[in-house]
């Protein structure tokens, strides 16, 4: 569908943003399939923002699928669950997508096991207090499945003095190629509806809005049909635009509330949770299970058997790509979506809770990108018109090349940038703006840590 036609379905959206080719046609019609177990699963201890989990089983331990193998270290942390019934071979360093070597479990699944998932004692939704639900959410080990990996239970904890009126379920899925949320909404709308009451009870929200982009009207219809009678849940269809799935953008698009600089949606009485996360909670919480697998779009021009797969956490890229088959001239593999995802430097990197997609390109596709030469800024202000946060990427880029980090932060609000990449996408001079901002932010954090 062209952008012009799809825009007729809804008029609510945010200002600025871009329209990258959505490239979702290859996988949007493919049902979710269960993926096989790799002979060795690599399960990192740190798959979320916050402190890494603390291992509670040692090398040589036999574990059951869904069993907690590492505990949360404090509130800003989540436990890790075994993705398969098998043997912990060792606990050693493994490459992670963030470029560090992180400690991980090397788990060898038993080939003959039936791979039954262990269940716990669920909390009763009707009588549980918000604290009990938040603790139960933490025990499932669920983090934001959209990609950022922020612990979901930490989002649900509302600080004293703040209140929430609206729960926003994010089904925008604005990243190109990714269709996991689309498939979840179509196939697991019931799980979404089961998850919502937990989230509403934990946050005290009185209404729920599910936001879906207009390239997924079938999903919106399916959700509308699944809403229980009398439940305060509405489904909104928004025009297609990137980065609508960013929580600040979504809050502005659906509710018309602007999140203040440096603030969170809860400052405007909103909690925003990804639809895939909600469905996963709706599936796990009634059985008190732990997150041990996740749905991932495996796509991109170089993949032969594209699709949406339910993949055990810890499966390495090498195993996934071998199983789906790739073109011979495989060149780049991106974890996450192509706009905000990260290129993998090694195929030994495992998928984690935050990986929403594995996108592979062949030499033919990347050749064009690499030949792009950087030219000086011509002050066309395309980036200014694209930035959804109303920053000035052009000026920030010039300051970045002079290493003027203080001015970037204090005068041009660099820290509000969430690295969506719109500025780099539209830049006719091919200036790697978002890359420069990421370098600057990292340098600033390093300097702060040294103080």
């Amino acid at each position: 569908m062209s952008a012009g036609v799809t825009d007729l379905f809804g008029s609510k959206t945010f200002a600025h943003g871009i329209h990258p080719p959505d490239s979702k046609d290859d996988t949007r019609g493919l049902p979710i399939q269960q993926f096989q177990f790799a002979p060795l699963l690599v399960v990192p201890l740190s798959q979320h923002i916050g402190k890494p989990a603390l291992p509670i089983v040692g090398e040589g331990a036999e574990v059951t699928r869904g069993q907690c193998i590492a505990e949360a270290d404090g509130f800003m942390s989540v436990p890790i669950h075994a993705p398969a019934t098998g043997l912990i071979r060792r606990i050693a360093l493994s490459p992670a997508i963030n470029g560090k070597m992180e400690p991980a479990f090397f788990l060898e699944p038993f080939p003959a096991s039936t791979q039954e998932v262990i269940e716990g004692t669920p909390c009763d939704i009707d009588s549980a207090s918000p604290e009990t639900i938040i603790a139960a959410v933490q025990q499932t080990g669920v983090v934001g499945l959209g990609g950022a990996g922020f612990p979901t239970h930490a989002k649900l904890k509302i600080p004293d003095g703040k209140f929430i009126d609206t729960l926003l379920i994010n089904g925008a899925e604005c990243e190109p190629y990714l269709t996991t949320d689309h498939r979840v909404m179509l196939e697991h709308a019931d799980d979404v509806m089961k998850g919502i009451p937990y989230l509403m009870r934990a946050t005290g929200a009185t209404q729920t809005v599910i936001a879906v982009e207009s390239n997924k009207v079938d999903a919106a219809d399916r959700l509308r049909a699944a809403v229980p009678i009398g439940a305060p849940i509405t489904v909104e269809v928004l025009p297609v635009k990137y980065p609508q799935g960013a929580e600040k953008m979504l809050t502005a698009a659906v509710l018309g509330r602007e999140v203040p600089s440096g603030g969170l949606p809860l400052d405007v009485h909103v909690v925003c949770v990804n639809v895939g996360t909600t469905a996963e909670l709706g599936k796990l919480l009634p059985h008190a299970m732990g997150l041990h697998e996740r749905i991932i779009t495996v796509g991109g021009p170089a993949v032969k058997k594209k699709g949406n797969y339910r993949i055990p956490i810890g499966t390495t890229l090498r195993f996934i790509l071998d199983a789906v088959g790739t073109e011979d001239d495989l060149s780049t593999v991106i974890m996450g979506g192509p706009m905000m995802g990260n290129a993998a430097s090694s195929l030994d990197i495992p998928i984690t809770k935050g990986t929403a997609g594995v996108i592979a390109y062949s030499q033919r596709d990347t050749g064009k990108m690499i030949s792009r030469k950087e030219y000086p800024c011509i002050r066309c202000a395309y980036c200014v018109d694209a930035c959804p946060l109303f920053l000035n990427p052009s000026q920030l880029g010039l300051l970045a090349s002079q290493n003027k980090h203080d001015a970037m932060v204090e005068e041009f609000n660099l820290m509000d940038c969430f690295e969506c990449g719109c500025c780099t996408f539209v830049c006719p001079s091919h200036i790697p703006l978002v890359q420069k901002f990421r370098i600057a932010k990292r340098a600033i954090r390093k300097a702060k840590a040294n103080e």
Binding site: G99, K100, S346, I349
Partner: protein
């Protein structure tokens, strides 16, 4: 024109000028900050590089502590000994002794000895490459070779070798620490030039894992530590030299199988031990099989 009006305006402006001039005179007397005139003179004798190697924010701040006698002139690592003597003579203080310090790189993995597992093709900067899954080097700790340190060095003391590894010119290096800040892998550190026994590897991997990635990496065999038990201790799979203890010698490097621990000789440069495997390859190594 009315002469009276002219006189009135002249008188008014004159009175205003007198009042303001008085105010300025009073302000100059009362608000005057007494500053040692020697600070300006000493600052003029400093190199004006504002590099911060002395530990003070710029040459002006260092001039202030020189005049107050807290630090000796030799603490400035940029100016030459005659300049130190000039400042010492001017201030009537001792030149002081400050051992020369230099930046040292804890990696020897140029592209002729260390493998790549991916080709990074983005923005040409180590910092950018490090953000993309740690860069293309097989060794996650190793030098990415995109010359952020060479760009950061204000003294042209760092030059990339043909195998894409930074080489520090000890004479030019002022130990300002800019390269320490620039390196995303934290491979540079500032050391006294007499710390000639040097571990040129940062990999925390052991044994064959290291050799798959890099021919000159430390395999954590521990021979150096057993040859110099008081001096070297193995920590996390790397030898750590305690420079406070005992005198350094090249003995500990002799049995190192890969040449990861080296002796940095004043004239001959980097000297590996006798047992170290020779590196003959000049060109780039082929990639790790993917």
């Amino acid at each position: 024109m009315d002469i009276a009006a002219l006189l009135t305006s002249l008188a008014a402006v004159g009175a205003l000028a007198t009042v303001l001039a008085t105010l300025l005179v009073v302000a100059d007397r009362w608000l005057h900050v007494v500053e040692d005139p020697r600070i300006d003179n000493v600052e003029a004798m400093l190199p004006h590089t504002n590099c911060g190697a002395c530990g003070y924010p710029g040459c002006r701040a260092f001039a202030e502590v020189l005049v107050s006698g807290v630090e000796p002139p030799a603490k400035c690592s940029v100016s030459a000994p005659p300049d130190h003597a000039r400042i010492a003579a001017y201030l009537g203080v001792d030149v002081g002794v400050q051992e020369k310090r230099v930046a040292r790189l804890a990696c020897a993995g140029g592209n002729n000895v260390a493998r790549n597992r991916a080709h990074y093709q983005g923005h040409k900067s180590c910092a950018a490459a490090a953000l993309v899954a740690g860069g293309g080097k097989s060794c996650f700790w190793g030098c990415l070779g995109l010359a952020d340190c060479e760009v950061a060095c204000d003294f042209d003391a760092i030059e990339m070798s043909p195998s894409q590894l930074p080489v520090v010119d000890e004479d030019r290096c002022t130990a300002c620490g800019d390269c320490v800040q620039a390196c995303p892998k934290d491979l540079f550190s500032i050391h006294e030039v007499s710390h000639r026994l040097w571990v040129a590897c940062s990999s925390l991997a052991n044994g064959d894992e290291v050799l798959e990635e890099c021919e000159v990496g430390c395999t954590a065999c521990g021979r150096c530590a057993s040859d110099a038990p008081n001096l070297i201790e193995m920590k996390n799979g790397l030898p750590v030299v305690d420079y406070q203890k005992g005198s350094l010698s090249a003995d500990a490097t002799q049995r190192c199988p890969t040449g990861a621990i080296v002796w940095i000789d004043e004239t001959k440069g980097i000297v590996k031990g006798n047992a170290a495997k020779k590196v003959i390859r000049q060109g780039e190594m082929r990639d790790t099989a993917t």
